[in-house]
């Protein structure tokens, strides 16, 4: 089974966000970058599929040179190969999806796994875009995946419940928390990753359709009032919610 996993290179979720001088992006000083949380889950699922069915897992990432770190981590977790689609611009989802889809078309895997959302831009768009560009089916926000003989059964999370979806290979799956618990790279894996290839390519990057005009921190909430420190404060709290906030 040929499997592609798309990984994005993002700030750690504990990052305190500061806006950069351009007013359109975050200040990267001192920020620790990681493989996006859901991409780790996608990669784990890919590794399990390979363990079960044999084959090859290729991790691919599109972006600046720093993305190679994330590819290296993917190799350490167990991916067989990595493909780095080098782009020094800041492409939008459409352009990233196009670059990924072009590579995937050429490599023609049986399944593509991505994260349900990249924890930086929170677009939740790439997976379904790539599928549409390839003319493939897809299931997004997947918490359970079963594949047998080309038939795919996946459970996806929806508001207040789950949908069971049937489709077929080749397809794109976007991974949600709950699908699996990603492994930690072993020392052996980390050592082995050093010798695994990262193939560099230059994708055709189409112009972005979405322009970021500005980025701001949300207006900081000022700490409110402590209504009290025991049960006697409850009537006042409820009065405030009813009369001042008017939310109940």
């Amino acid at each position: 089974m040929k499997i592609v996993v798309c990984v994005s290179h993002v700030p750690d979720s504990a990052t305190k966000v500061n806006i950069a001088g351009d007013g359109k992006s975050i200040d990267k000083t001192g920020v620790n970058f990681i493989i996006s949380t859901y991409d780790e889950i996608a990669l784990e699922e890919a590794l399990r599929l390979r363990e079960k069915n044999g084959g090859e897992v290729v991790a691919v990432s599109l972006g600046g040179d720093a993305h190679k770190e994330t590819l290296r981590k993917s190799l350490a977790m167990g991916a067989d190969k990595a493909v780095f689609l080098k782009s020094d611009t800041q492409p939008d989802s459409f352009a990233v999806a196009r670059g990924l889809a072009d590579f995937i078309k050429e490599y023609s895997p049986e399944i593509v796994l991505v994260g349900k959302q990249s924890i930086d831009t929170d677009n939740s768009a790439i997976g379904c875009m790539v599928a549409e560009m390839l003319g493939w089916p897809s299931v997004s926000v997947v918490v359970k995946l079963e594949i047998s003989g080309g038939k795919v059964t996946a459970e996806r999370e929806i508001e207040g419940g789950h949908e069971k979806v049937e489709t077929k290979l080749p397809c794109v799956i976007t991974a949600q928390k709950g699908l699996n618990d990603p492994r930690y790279p072993s020392l052996k894996g980390i050592m082995a990753a050093k010798n695994k290839p990262i193939e560099e390519r230059t994708p055709a990057v189409i112009p972005s359709k979405v322009e970021v005009l500005s980025m701001k921190k949300p207006s900081a909430k000022s700490a409110g009032k402590i209504v009290g420190s025991d049960v006697s404060a409850v009537p006042e709290l409820v009065r405030l919610l009813h009369e001042e906030a008017k939310v109940i």
Binding site: V17, D120, G127, E132, E157, G160, T167, K217, V231
Partner: protein, 325 residues
Amino acid sequence: MKILAFAEQRNNKLKKTAFEVVKAARTVADQLKAEVVALVVGDSVHAIAGELGTYGANRVLAVEDPRLGKYSTTAYAKAIAEIAKKEQAGIVFLSATAMGKDCGPRVAVKLDAGIAVDCTALRVDGADIIASRPVYAGKAVTDVKIHSPVKVFSLRPNVFTAGTGSRSTASVEKVPLQFSDEDFSTRVIDVTQSKGKLDVAEADIIVTGGRGLKGPENFNIIEELAGVLGGAVGASRAVVDAGWRPHGEQVGQTGKTVSPSLYIAVAVSGAIQHLAGMSSSKYIVAVNKDKDAPIFQVADYGIVGDAMEIVPAITREVKKLMGKE
């Protein structure tokens, strides 16, 4: 100029977000002097679609096929994109729900359109729409502009208020569309819905419990308060990881991002990943026994004390208040 508003239904019932999307489209259309065309896709949905007129749709279209009774990413995306082309809509609105997030990106590709996902505000600037959308789990907000001829926006549920429909209902035009089997290459074969349970992403009031509740058995106090308020139960990651609550309830960076009118955080410390998911709530109440817990820094109102005493007291007081009215 036309705005196509995709109005979501499930089980032949329009979702609240359907009205939000149509109303938001109306607001934008008034400024752009545009027309709002609402679209409902499903099995036999024309009977429920007319109500969208009351929220400002100039015309209401229905695409029907027995196979559309359950959601299919491929078929729904086709329906929306085909109608957008037929109507020459320059703007497409969807809601950023499980369905809208799934088919929206496909619609964008089919229309060669840029997409702004999960918008929390829309502003008209001349002939352009400037959309605000949170990034980094809400730790920052970007303003974006789409440059492609066709533009797709998905709107975060619960942020754009629909109010009540005040116009007259619209007559519904059924639009014939042909679907092949290949269009249903993904099909939903089963839906499991927790009965009568409100999802945190859609709720207007959320009561969230954290690890300080000590065990799953103590979540009854959270459920009761959520119950009297007509809200949903939320959970911190610590309690989801401990297996006390399902992941669907998790609020935060790796859970759901929510913006209810009222968010009550009980025995939640307020870790940065939790705050990321809820700090855009309109009003935040914190109940925590530690007066230095970071959650108090974002709370509008706080009570320092034992959740096991405070929460049942709030439930009683709310019941009393409601009894009075």
